[in-house]
């Protein structure tokens, strides 16, 4: 009779006629749901990710070409942790990949990750960018940088604190304060300065907004290009994506209308967030999962992060893309990532309290 098979098997080597049709993937999902047996790949690894498929596909394709291991993926945005938790011991997830340190730590807090000991990972990823027990690893970094009107020639340095100064009244554009990228920054502010000062800063920043805190980081550049505002905050890789023309000619214009300043905290460095991954607690292919993570911090993969996605590699000494290097020398703020993750709830509540997004 039919046998129960894990839902990650694929049809690529199965003798199933439909697999040659364009609807291959659909059929695999549906037919699997009926429990029909098919031949599985020799080695596979299953990746649940909140990173957009277009960003990680080049990495995964390179890995499959190199190792022969098939990587099955599902791009889940909100609810990754809930899904894996509900799947429980029978989850097919091997690796959970996400952006933002808060989201990464949540996977550990919810007991969805397992510790990994790997000399390769430990050698490649600096200690502040991974868990001491190996339950999470950062794979790439992005800085929260200042986008400014390129005509502001006097503006060559800035602090996050100064964005609340009255000189910027009606001149700042930002995305929602409840977006993880901003919440993490506010959380870092909170760790450095305490609740009272952070609240005052948020109120000042709110008063400086030229428009509602909404949209995405690229909208900040676009609105600066349209003279709606003069400065704003955005992630570093968007600058690369816009200026390289990868997002189309319009975005290239936005990218060129702004100049980028690497802001710092007073007496500190530039706020940096990470993308990272954990090995799932119930990983059915644990060994393959570790191997894929090790690949992702190899020189080859870190170069892809840098050159295709314009992210800062985590591996010490790995080259960064010239476009990114042209933004200036990055001095990473030393606020521990774990502290930032632990304070994000308080930061998010503060955003509500000052009515930042209203």
């Amino acid at each position: 009779m039919i046998t129960r098979i894990p839902p990650y098997a694929s049809f690529d080597e199965g003798g199933f006629a439909v697999s040659s049709l364009s609807g291959k993937f659909a059929w695999s999902g549906l037919v699997l749901s009926l429990g029909l047996g098919v031949t599985a790949h020799a080695a596979e690894v299953n990746l649940y990710t909140t990173r957009e498929p277009g960003l990680i596909r080049p990495l995964l394709e390179a890995y499959t070409a190199k190792s022969g291991v098939k990587v099955n993926t599902v791009f889940v945005e909100k609810g990754l942790a809930e899904r894996v938790a509900a799947e429980g011991a029978r989850s097919s997830a091997d690796i959970l990949m996400t952006v933002d340190i808060g989201n990464l730590i949540e996977l550990v807090d919810r007991d969805l990750a397992q510790p990994v000991r790997s000399p390769a990972l430990e050698a490649a990823v600096p200690a502040p960018l991974r868990d001491a027990e190996g339950r999470w690893f950062a794979l790439s970094m992005r800085a929260r940088v200042l986008y400014a009107d390129e005509t502001l020639s006097g503006l060559t340095a800035a602090t996050y604190e100064s964005l609340a100064d009255p000189q910027w009244t009606g001149k700042v554009c930002l995305r929602s304060g409840q977006h993880p990228y901003n919440t993490a920054l506010i959380s870092a502010f909170l760790v450095r300065h305490g609740a009272e000062k952070t609240e005052a800063w948020l109120r000042g920043l709110k008063a400086n907004l030229a428009r509602k805190a909404a949209g995405g980081d690229r909208d900040v550049a676009r609105d600066i290009a349209a003279d709606l505002c003069e400065v704003g905050l955005g992630n570093s890789y968007y600058v690369g994506l816009m200026r390289s023309g990868r997002g189309g000619p319009d975005q290239q214009k936005w990218g060129k209308a702004i100049k980028v300043v690497l802001p710092t905290f007073e007496g500190g460095g530039t706020h940096v967030n990470v993308s990272g991954a954990v090995v799932a607690k119930a990983a059915p292919n644990r060994e393959e999962a570790v191997k894929l993570l090790e690949y992702l911090v190899s020189d080859e993969a870190q170069a892809v992060y840098a050159n295709a996605d314009y992210e800062y590699p985590v591996k010490a000494g790995a080259a960064i893309d010239p476009l990114l290097a042209s933004l200036g020398t990055l001095t990473i703020d030393q606020t521990p990532l774990l502290e930032i993750a632990r304070n994000r709830k308080a930061a998010s509540l503060l955003v509500d309290k000052v009515g930042f997004d209203n």
Binding site: A26, A85, R222, D352
Partner: protein, 542 residues
């Protein structure tokens, strides 16, 4: 006989359990947290979020009722050149996911976009600063956008109603001396109330549950707050609490509307149902009619879709077709077709439950069928995670080790779609069944037909146009659905809407635009069919 009914009751009970399961699972999650979130919400969040949500719903409600009934009346009561094209074109905004329209409009209406740039060059201005126009990223902007995209939910059932049964009464009104405007307000609109209520309800739930467009346009609805609580604070209990309170409000509002409509019967009589006789317009009157009717089509569809098509063309001309599109198109059509089939059949049975089982239980089941649509898609999907996992382990323990319908399978996705959109097909089947004069079904029963046989041989043949139009509407909804698909689909399965979202999220808009155009094209097929069905239904009646 008795065995069939027993089976029917068992099926109804199982379905009711499934329909309620996400709410129960959210309830359990909500109980996992304390009440400490509420003072914070009451002090800092609710005053603004309730105000914005109420304004959004009131604005979108007025707009969809105005546009939907107005357009339905225009094409039903008048004849003018281009009317038949317009009849179909007015449905087109249905094919567009709202968040995609929001993306497109932000491109179009931005100071750097073609509309304002064109206006500036017309006025001889160089900088956007010289021509400050209101920003789309605002509550009024969001109301306009959602109103022009969602009005077909009202237009579709209202037009069908005008076509099917308004004729006799309107003729009476005309004989009694009422002009076209007066007969619209005093006769047609009250007559159309169930259809308007059904459509407005669907449109308002879409508006309330929307996050994409609201987040993009900076409108802080209660739904956005659910996500901030859940995603940004890892506070699932708190988020579940807010979601359940919102759900309770929606259920109460729907109940109030039903109550206000009271026990008024809207069933047609067995004879003399006729479409409205259209008044022929010419000259400037015809021109005005065309202009009025075309406005929602242009704003709700042609402009954003045209923009997408341009973007898509740039992408295809520059780099060819994204290589995965064929598979994604296949997935979209396949899942939407399967889920539509399930949704239509279950929807018909639910709509007929008052007749098949008992009036009271049937009505309860119909109301439960509305739950999946009354909450945001992601909330439904999260609520379903537990129940789906439970089904799987239940099957495993019961010894069915060979069957898996649980999480991460295509079957789970189909179940979730059906729960989400069941109300669409139930509503349509209900409307279709309600139009059948009681005398006809009664006659079949008196002549000895069983209930199921009466349904199959008498009621379905009479109600099929309504059922099918419900199915087509569900198909369009499923094909463009995003949040449930995103969270529940199996590994390696990408649909057009998840692909589009992935591309839009990372800012490679041109790649996504091709998928968006394909979603619209897939949506166009059922939209075109929807019109045929109504025409046929009228023809058959005559």
């Amino acid at each position: 006989m008795a065995a069939t009914r027993g089976l029917g009751w068992a099926g109804a009970a199982a379905l009711a359990a499934l329909l309620l399961s996400p709410v129960i699972s959210l309830g359990i999650a909500a109980l996992g947290g304390g009440s400490e979130l509420w003072p914070h919400l009451a002090a800092y969040v609710l005053p603004q979020a309730i105000r914005d949500t109420a304004l959004l719903l009131a604005g979108v409600g007025l707009l969809v009722i105005g546009l939907g009934t107005g357009a339905a009346w225009l094409v039903s009561a008048f004849d003018f050149p281009g009317r038949r094209v317009l009849e179909g074109a007015l449905l087109l905004p249905l094919a567009m996911p709202t968040y995609v329209v929001a993306y497109a409009y932000l491109d179009l209406s931005h100071p750097l976009g073609p509309l304002q740039a064109g206006l500036r060059s017309l006025l001889g201005l160089s900088s956007p600063r010289d021509l400050p126009l209101p920003d789309l990223r605002s509550l009024p902007g969001c109301i306009l956008l959602l109103g022009f995209v969602l009005y077909p939910y009202v237009y579709l059932p209202t037009r069908a109603l005008f076509l099917m049964q308004a004729g006799t009464l309107l003729e009476a009104a005309r004989v009694l001396g009422a002009g076209p405007f007066r007969s619209f307000l005093r006769v047609a609109l009250p007559l159309a109330r169930p259809a308007v209520a059904l459509g407005t309800g669907l449109a308002l739930m879409e508006a309330l549950n929307d996050v994409g467009a609201a987040e993009f346009l900076g409108v802080r609805t209660l739904t956005v707050q659910v996500y901030a609580t859940w995603v940004n604070r890892s506070d699932l209990p708190g988020a579940a609490q807010i979601a359940l309170v919102m759900l309770a409000c929606v259920v109460a509002l729907v109940g109030l509307e039903r109550l206000a409509r009271g026990g008024r019967g809207y069933a047609g009589s067995a004879r003399r149902n006729a479409a409205v006789t259209r008044r022929r317009l010419s000259g400037w009157r015809a021109g005005t009619a065309v202009a009025l009717g075309a406005t929602p089509v242009v704003l709700g569809f042609l402009l954003p879709a045209g923009h997408l098509a341009c973007e898509a063309w740039r992408r295809v001309a520059g780099g060819g077709w994204p290589d995965t599109l064929a598979v994604q198109t296949g997935n979209t059509i396949l899942y939407a077709s399967l889920a539509t089939g399930v949704t239509v059949v279950v929807g018909l049975l639910v709509a007929a439950a008052p007749f098949l089982l008992s009036a009271r239980a049937g009505r309860a089941l119909i109301r439960a069928a509305g739950l999946g649509y009354a909450m945001p898609g992601t909330v439904l999907a999260v609520g379903l995670l537990g129940p789906l996992a439970l089904i799987d382990s239940g099957l495993l323990e019961a010894g069915f080790a060979t069957v898996s319908v649980g999480l991460g399978t295509g079957a789970a996705l189909v179940i979730a779609y059906a729960l989400r959109f069941l109300t669409v097909t139930v509503g349509a089947s209900e409307a279709g069944l309600a139009r059948i004069p009681h005398t006809i079904s009664d006659a079949a029963r008196v002549l000895g037909r069983g209930r199921l046989a009466t349904l199959a041989t008498v009621q379905i043949p009479l109600a099929w146009p309504a059922m099918l139009s419900g199915g087509l509407l569900a198909f369009v909804d499923i094909a463009k659905e995003l949040p449930v698909t995103l969270l529940l689909r199996p590994l390696n399965v990408e649909t057009l809407s998840t692909f589009l979202y992935g591309e839009a999220a990372r800012g490679t808009y041109e790649d996504g635009a091709v998928a968006a155009v394909l979603i619209v094209m897939i949506g166009l097929v059922p939209v075109t069919l929807l019109l045929r069905i109504d025409e046929n239904a009228v023809w058959r009646r005559r």
